[in-house]
Assembly symmetry: C2
Homo-oligomer: 443 residues x 2
């Protein structure tokens, strides 16, 4: 069980219909899902969780059982944060319409958001989902560079539109990559020889060369700046810079996908790219932006949209509507006012130290990587850091679920514990998690 | 001025920066938009409207001036409908999470929604936008048929993702169509010779033949079932059936884009395709589904997703979350409980009769086409139904705006008044509109 999952479209931690220990009511619900939603939907866990309520870092199932949410990065400021709920409700009752009328809300939010970026990144466009933001980046990069080639990591995930699913190899072999897409090895210090930055850049250079060899002009390199689905790679800070140099010398753009790392999660900065001391050409935003309300966006240097903007208009009916802007504004204000980036740094450091301490006592807990409250911990066999153990990882994830803690698994070998709690996570929550994880490691 | 707009990306009724009669405060807002949002955003009208509040069929600008909303199909059950606002607020405060946990809300909504479809259409998948729904249909059609060719009308609009913008010629010459996309003439009874159904089907057959001649297997014909952006074509009922026969004989699917006509707007039925006595393979839903909340979906026959579902999973982080389901449920209940489909039929008939009456006194008012509360009225020169007059149409749209009525223009010649008010529109609202339209026609 140390191999990469080979089933086409295999997903770590997916429920296998017919298995698990579901109560009859939930069995009926699963059957109803199959009948109504069809075969492309997936549930988490051997025994799916039936949730009904959320508050802060806690989720509750239909029987009132509490789960510590150590997974959901969408509810970044905490489930059902009253200030965010109130902002959505208030604006929904006043005016919800779109961006073809003048409205102050979208501009006030745009200003507040852009204040968190380097001055060179001074435009923002609004969509409803991270997929749409990356799809827009794809269109803009093609228009600006005249190129069509895109470079992504080997287990990247960037979204579900046709163009972006074609740049998301983690969706599995059943979803074809785009003809003009090339993949590069993730910046995994255990598996790349030598300096990570140089090795990763060499991979990008090889991809550029291969594109050119096929007569394809490079358009962009796009990476999730903490490489979430590749298994979480954040160190050493700065390692991304050489690869960005490579794509720019080839005439392509660098797109930072901040859908997962963005909005303070990495602790040291609002955006993952800042860890690497560089300024991207475009930055896509999503998941935590509205704490669950569907709002996302694309931040960019004005010069990259000159070509697209001279030829095309962009209108997203719900994107940046008055309710989206009010909700996103409330989220950003909570991140600022409650010091959540600082909390991600402090509690993230505690969390990592706790995991490292556990690893001294448990061979199965292999390499631990993190940036703030985005953590990945490899589960390995026999203490060998290279012996990925997906089966043991699955058992741990499900043991935690059964004992009131929600996380999931990730990485190309499905053996990385994927830990990204709401940013309001406390030291007490960390202690609770570590206690349950130790029980799972023992079991 | 009787020509098709030739400027790349030209949009009917777009604000031209630097023109119009904006007060200084709004001028500053326009400049701020340009600076913050960049060059791809567009505003409506010679003088954009600065809106702050909505209620029922009325919108209010910052000075308290009221506008009768005869345009916005998103706020289909009326702006800020209290029952919908309450559903969003209530569920936002309880639980907002995604479809990888079990939750009743999405299934209850799916059942209630699917009850409005023919039994053959028994699966629904949820996205956040109509663009995403059409993009998913695109992916499923390719997986199911093994084909890559898509057929759309000459001025179609289906969305803004890369794949779907490539099937949306109304976005203008600056947005390239997909290599495997073919366009066919709209079912315009004035411009197609002979029987509309036969002529439209002949266009689809020619497109199929051209695809095959290029070695491209057809995947699907997709149409907006009231042909909104082509200029509104609804009659005679049943005319679509022969074209659907053509694509099916060629091995392709038929996708009904109900993002604009759906949810009762056409008056006689919940969905535009029902007017044509056929059952599509897939049906995309969007705009009015959440009355402004970003929720959309794709309804399908189970057999079309067998291939896609066996190879791929689909997860849309915000799509079908608990708040989306609760909000969409409230909208559907209001449509049912307030009899809005019936209202669309009754008030739509009145509306059309009023326009036809006006047309007897005003040569500029040319052919009028409608289905329920989706109406299109051509503005023509010298009483000639074929002499499209985009300039006069623009003057009427702006005159109405200045006098408290919001509509827009559409069609390949930008000369069709685009009229699609919230479905709570009343006979009194129609009288108000006709009075202002007559004043505009005189001016």
């Amino acid at each position: 069980m140390t191999d990469r999952p080979t089933l086409p479209g295999a997903m770590p931690n997916a429920y296998q219909p017919g298995k698990g220990n579901l109560p009859p009511g939930d069995q009926a619900l699963v059957a109803r899902r199959q009948r109504l939603l069809g075969p492309a939907y997936r549930l988490f866990y051997e025994t799916p969780v039936h949730l009904v309520r959320g508050e802060g870092v806690w989720l509750y199932d239909k029987d009132g059982k509490a789960y510590l949410d150590t997974y959901n990065n969408v509810a970044s400021v905490g489930h059902c944060h009253p200030r965010v709920v109130e902002a959505t409700a208030r604006q929904s009752a006043i005016f919800a319409s779109h961006t073809r009328y003048l409205h102050d809300g979208i501009l006030e939010y745009a200003e507040r958001l852009l204040a968190h970026f380097p001055p060179a990144l001074s435009h923002v466009m609004f969509t409803c989902t991270g997929s749409e933001a990356n799809d827009l980046a794809f269109r803009i990069a093609r228009a600006q560079t005249g190129g069509t080639g895109f470079i992504v990591t080997e287990n990247a995930y960037h979204g579900v539109t046709h163009a972006i699913a074609g740049m998301s190899p983690s969706l599995g072999a059943g979803v074809p990559l785009g003809e003009h897409v090339r993949t590069v090895p993730a910046p995994d210090p255990l598996r790349l020889a030598g300096d990570v930055g140089a090795a990763f850049a060499a991979g990008v250079q090889a991809a550029v060369d291969d594109l050119l060899r096929h007569g394809i002009r490079p358009a962009a390199l796009i990476v999730d700046t903490v490489f979430s689905s590749d298994g979480v790679f954040a160190d050493p800070p700065g390692f991304l810079a050489p690869a960005v140099g490579v794509i720019r010398r080839a005439g392509g753009l660098f797109i930072a996908d901040e859908v997962q790392p963005g909005f303070g999660r990495t602790g040291q900065a609002m955006w993952g790219f800042q860890r690497h001391g560089l300024t991207p050409d475009m930055v896509s935003l999503g998941k935590p932006m509205g704490n669950g309300y569907p709002v996302a966006g694309l931040v960019m240097r004005p010069e990259v949209i000159e070509s697209f903007g001279s030829k095309a208009r962009y209108f997203n009916t719900f994107g940046g509507n008055a309710v989206a802007a009010a909700t996103a504004m409330a989220v950003l204000q909570v991140v600022e006012d409650e010091g959540l980036m600082q909390n991600a740094a402090t509690v993230g450091a505690l969390f990592r130290a706790g995991l490292e301490d556990l690893a001294t006592r448990h061979d199965a807990l292999g390499p631990i990587r993190s940036a703030g409250l985005f953590l990945g911990a490899e589960i390995v066999a026999g203490g060998d850091p290279l012996a990925a153990d997906a089966a043991a990882c699955g058992r741990i994830v499900n043991h935690l679920r059964d004992n009131g803690v929600l996380i999931s698994a990730t990485g190309p070998r499905a053996n990385v514990l994927k830990i990204r709690p709401p940013l309001v996570f406390s030291a007490e929550n960390v202690a609770f998690f570590l206690d349950r994880l130790e029980a799972a490691l023992k079991a």
